[in-house]
Symmetry: C2
């Protein structure tokens, strides 16, 4: 049993713990795919961020039985081939919940409480107490998506005494949501939003799901935050929405094109906050990912228990 990891900089304590606990397996920790590709042909298990495993490399990995993806977005995975070969795929869905929820709350606080202006004042050594800092407490948050990440955001929003409304395919009620609506009722829900937060993945259903008319429905002091996928809504629609004051601000961590091109108008638009796809990044990420891998490996080797976060290769999530 050969386990190849393409994850860079796996801390020593994690490597030692895995080798000690699973001494029947051979672990090869590589510094990225450039190194890992040389071991793929004999790998039974491959641990990857999922961005670098194309159809060609998959074909070379003839013995592969399980791909552990240390990511939740798997847009570039060759799922057709994976499906044909019946390779097991698991990911770390849910592990992003904590940092992403922190990201969402921190950015909504930053925008509402005018922290950019506050920092500008500090730089100018200006003692000015007149800045109007709005509270996020008691506001209404609309979440596009009601999965693990959305639920964690909703849980924190409830701590801030917010009203939490979810939007999902089924409209089925979920913990931490005051109410969940089916996608067909999007118009009804958006008009009550102080904050609209999207955590939707990229699928054929979510691509360009939000259109110009949705931003006309949102209240003019609404803040839109997208940390799902950039193709949920076109850049032009967002730009027009803030420039025409249909919403007050957009916080964007994901974009149609990443990295966001240097000359993109988002960078300089005051009412758009750009962050470089970092909502899910955390120093706790790799330790948590390997924790989940370790639990799954125990199940994979022993055959006892249930694997967590199995991906359906036909749906891609």
């Amino acid at each position: 049993m050969k386990i190849v990891s393409a994850i860079k900089r796996v801390p020593d304590d994690i490597q030692i713990r895995l080798r000690t606990r699973f001494d029947e397996a051979e672990f090869i920790f590589c510094h990225g795919m450039g190194e890992a590709r040389h071991y793929l042909s004999s790998a039974d298990v491959f641990i990857t961020y999922g961005e670098d495993l194309d159809a060609e490399k998959l074909q070379a990995a003839k013995k592969l039985k399980w791909i552990m993806v240390l990511s939740a977005g798997m847009d570039r995975m060759p799922f057709e081939k994976i499906n044909e070969r019946g390779i097991l795929v698991t990911n770390v869905r849910g592990i992003h919940a904590q940092p992403m929820a922190e990201y969402a709350i921190s950015m909504l606080l930053q925008v509402s409480r005018k922290e950019k202006k506050l920092m500008e004042q500090e730089q100018k050594q200006e003692w000015n107490r007149k800045l109007v800092m709005n509270e996020i407490s008691g506001k209404t948050m609309v979440l596009l998506g009601t999965g693990a990440i959305a639920q964690e955001v909703a849980r924190l929003a409830k701590a801030f005494k917010m009203k939490t409304l979810g939007l999902s395919r089924s409209g089925r009620s979920k913990e931490y949501f005051d109410q969940v609506f089916p996608v067909s009722q999007v118009d009804l829900v958006l008009q009550t939003a102080d904050f609209v937060v999207s955590v939707l993945p990229s699928t054929s259903e979510t691509k360009h799901m939000l259109k110009a008319e949705h931003f006309t429905i949102m209240p003019s002091d609404c803040v839109f935050l997208n940390m799902g996928r950039g193709d949920l809504v076109s850049s032009e629609v967002i730009l027009e929405a803030v420039q025409n004051r249909q919403i007050s601000h957009a916080v964007l961590d994901v974009f149609e094109e990443e990295p966001l091109p240097e000359d993109h108008p988002f960078w300089s638009e005051e009412k758009v906050t750009v962050t470089p796809h970092i909502s899910g990044i955390s120093p706790e990420y790799v330790p948590r990912g390997f924790q989940l891998f370790e639990e799954n490996l125990e199940v994979f080797l022993s055959g006892a228990g249930e694997l967590r976060n199995i991906i359906d290769p036909k749906r891609g999530y």
Copy 2:
């Protein structure tokens, strides 16, 4: 019954609601003390932020029976004279809790998640995902003080799955605190802190309560936040603590001298974040303050029920 308010810009809807509900009283809403002082001699009730009521003005207010202070800090109130005349004083203690708790969480998120650097990158249109953004989740917060404001901060901290330790005179346990210690155990508590948050008022006991040795006890990656009163610790002690890397950052909303002098080294010290005593400021502040006044006025006029937030003029809080 004449009720004089020195609070600027009381919204019309609040003025109308009070006049309608209490039509036996005469309300005079003034734009600050400059205007209000002319009505003080005949005022039965005076609504003030408390900063502008000195012994002289109090002497002129011969009929005064109740001072409603729309603030929680009352350092400048002439309590000796108030005590002599047996004037009732109530304040809005607890009303600051929500914005101050939001302030604390937002600033700890900002420092931990490197939001200043993130904004600098955005200004430079730099797509850089290498910034290490630490989570606040799961960390240990030590709160100096366990009153209403500290409890609200602790409540939010618990939502972020933090460990919450309180420090108070009595060491009596309080809701939302995992443990509360008496002041005598301050050394023990500080050494476990990721965040130290002070909400202590200014009293003879709290003045310069934190000294240089306390900062040597805190872990070197600890963040210190003071939104209580500036005389808790001297500027020099804080500056030395960050410059000698005894702690990683200080977030200061209160200072020994306010406004913070233009040439004060805090302004330009990267490891100090200065905000201009704004943690308790909120657009919801005046509406909430008058809500509390309204409830107390009902009790004051009818004699039925209990007044909230009565101040002991001998202690000053």
